[in-house]
């Protein structure tokens, strides 16, 4: 892979994010009820609304507002929240950090659980364990996060059983064990769909690879079973899986919105929901933009990982 390929990819990402910025800005302009309405709530009088709109710059033409905004964003300034008056960029990046922690742990758990399960299912094709794993993965893929989350909440998180703290967030730097314990339930919830999805992928790829001449030949050469499995079959089966995982990151960033809301996890998803409810335009804009950029970068990383695993692939 060459430097020019990387550069081109980065430029594409930049272009993508720019288009996203226009889309998001456009959407925020047509939201019913503006920030001034929410800010004043049911205490608003018409004169107050006019005063607050002028203070917030909501009375300028749209293109002027967009140029002003994007200019500041390019200089790293996402503006200040209409609600709290705090700098939006700082707030959103802090929240993003927490969400990434949640997402990465979920990915990790997914890899640890899904790959062995997929391999087992492939090796025992047609037997009870395969069918069981297959059925479970269908159900896993088909349960909306809020259903999974609630089930997790009344079982593992039920205070009556006292197993795990069900909600909140404590920075790991403050209280490592407590913080980790609070991550368990959200991570479990997010992982369910991922695991279900990836198990199916690994299984079908594994089945394909095990059927190839190349594995058969290896077997005939008398190589040991684990060796065939791990050195040859699994590596080839994992390649397409990585692409799926990259796509799943898009799901992941969406899915955590609901999970964060239910588990009171102060990540970027919840920050965005709150911002949308409050019509806090700078926060919505920054949050959506940061999410989109994260997704684009994650895809690039997945491509790079793919290339690293498969030396045969060359990028012009």
């Amino acid at each position: 892979m060459s430097a020019s390929y990387l550069l081109r990819r980065l430029l594409t990402i930049l272009l993508t994010v720019l288009i996203v910025s226009m889309l998001v800005f456009g959407i925020t302009q047509v939201l019913p009820a503006d920030a001034a309405v929410m800010l004043l709530g049911e205490n608003a009088t018409p004169e107050q609304l006019v005063a607050v709109r002028a203070r917030l710059g909501l009375d300028l033409p749209v293109w002027q507002q967009y140029l002003g905004w994007i200019g500041h964003v390019l200089r790293g300034d996402f503006g200040t929240s209409l609600e709290t008056g705090l700098p939006v960029g700082e707030v959103m990046f802090t929240a993003l950090g927490r969400s990434l922690l949640l997402a990465l742990l979920s990915l990790l758990l997914m890899l640890v659980v899904a790959i062995p399960l997929g391999v087992v299912a492939a090796l025992r094709r047609g037997r009870a364990s395969d069918l069981g794993i297959g059925l479970a993965s269908y159900v896993g893929v088909s349960m909306p996060e809020f259903v999974t989350a609630t089930l997790v909440l009344i079982t593992l998180g039920n205070p009556a059983f006292g197993l795990l703290p069900s909600t909140g967030y404590v920075p790991l730097t403050e209280d490592f064990r407590g913080g980790l314990a609070r991550l368990v339930l959200p991570v479990l919830t997010v992982s369910v769909i991922l695991v279900a999805h990836v198990v199916r992928m690994v299984r079908s790829e594994m089945v394909d690879v095990l059927g190839t001449d190349y594995v058969r030949a290896a077997r005939m050469k008398g190589l040991s079973r684990p060796r065939i499995l791990f050195r040859h079959a699994l590596r080839n089966a994992l390649l397409p899986t990585i692409t799926v995982v990259a796509l799943d990151i898009g799901y992941l960033l969406g899915g955590i919105i609901v999970v964060e809301e239910i588990f009171a996890f102060p990540g970027i998803g919840r920050a965005l929901i709150v911002a949308i409810q409050q019509r806090d335009l700078p926060s919505i804009q920054a949050g959506a933009l940061i999410m989109a950029a994260t997704y684009a970068l994650a895809n690039l990383l997945a491509d790079l990982a793919y290339a690293a695993l498969d030396k045969r692939i060359r990028y012009a």
Partner: protein, 274 residues
């Protein structure tokens, strides 16, 4: 086509999935007729009942019969999900085929926009659209349809690009047919197979997506018995009567499973491996 159907029903996925979908369709059509109670009638003295002889699946916070509500809700749930998928599929198919046919900078520009939209997480995108349109079942349908469009456009485009290279399209171009004729009559029919498979699986996502929007208060609105809304409304009563939430949740999962199975069966039936 009958051939495909035979193939489909021979796969276990196709058979099970098709069976469940058929049952759900029956509920959607005849639900109100076979429901034991009026789905909106209060039974104030029997609020929060568990499953039992009178109310088979129990009652909710107003004492409404949950079974009757699930049967009545099948219609809106299925209709919204299928319609959202259809909207996204048709829009995406037309856009993708057009893009492939015209090519050049139009293709490039369209695909960049598609990339950009797909860079916004799906749920966030639908959330923004529904917030603009206002919360209702129909608006959730539209939002989900719009959110599905770019993905479908991209899939259709890649299939269409392959089709475009083929002789019959070149022949039509040589005959001097108009662009719209070629797109609609020559290209679209030939990209339909893979699109239908994708669309079937998308219905499962649509069921879940609509339920999630309802859960966040942005989908169907009370007193509707759309399943996602039933789950959302049951959530505060989780520790009082968990059945209220469990049954509609199961219904959602069951229908989503069915469409996933059916889609996989369809895929196998359409490209039978040797």
């Amino acid at each position: 086509m009958p051939d495909t159907l035979r193939h489909l029903l021979r796969t276990p996925q196709g058979l099970i999935g098709g069976g469940i979908i058929l049952m759900a369709l029956l509920a959607a059509i005849g639900g109100p007729a076979i429901a034991p109670f009026d789905p909106e009638a209060f039974h104030v003295r029997a609020r929060f009942s568990g499953p039992g002889a009178t109310y088979w699946l129990g009652t909710d916070q107003f004492g409404r019969d949950i079974l009757s509500r699930i049967l009545a809700g099948a219609r809106s749930t299925l209709f919204l999900a299928v319609a959202a998928t259809a909207l996204g599929t048709v829009a995406g198919a037309v856009l993708g085929t057009l893009s492939a046919f015209i090519g050049g900078w139009v293709d490039e520009a369209l695909m960049r926009i598609v990339d950009a939209v797909m860079a916004i997480p799906n749920l966030l995108f639908t959330l923004l659209i529904v917030t603009v349109l206002g919360a209702s079942g129909v608006n959730a349908l539209i939002a989900l349809g719009i959110a599905f469009t770019p993905g479908m456009a991209r899939i259709t485009r890649s299939v269409a690009l392959a089709v475009r290279q083929q002789d019959f399209v070149n022949a039509a171009v040589a005959r001097g047919e108009t662009g719209s004729f070629i797109v609609l009559r020559e290209m679209l029919p030939n990209v339909v197979g893979p699109i239908i498979v994708e669309a079937t699986i998308r219905v499962a996502f649509a069921v879940m997506g609509l339920a999630t929007l309802s859960f966040l208060g942005l989908g169907a609105q009370p007193p509707s018995s759309e399943w996602g809304l039933m789950v959302a409304e049951a959530r505060p009563y989780l520790f009082r009567n968990a059945w209220m939430m469990l049954f509609p949740g199961l219904a959602i999962a069951l229908v989503a499973v069915a469409f996933n199975l059916f889609g996989d069966g369809l895929r196998d039936a359409l490209n039978p491996r040797a």
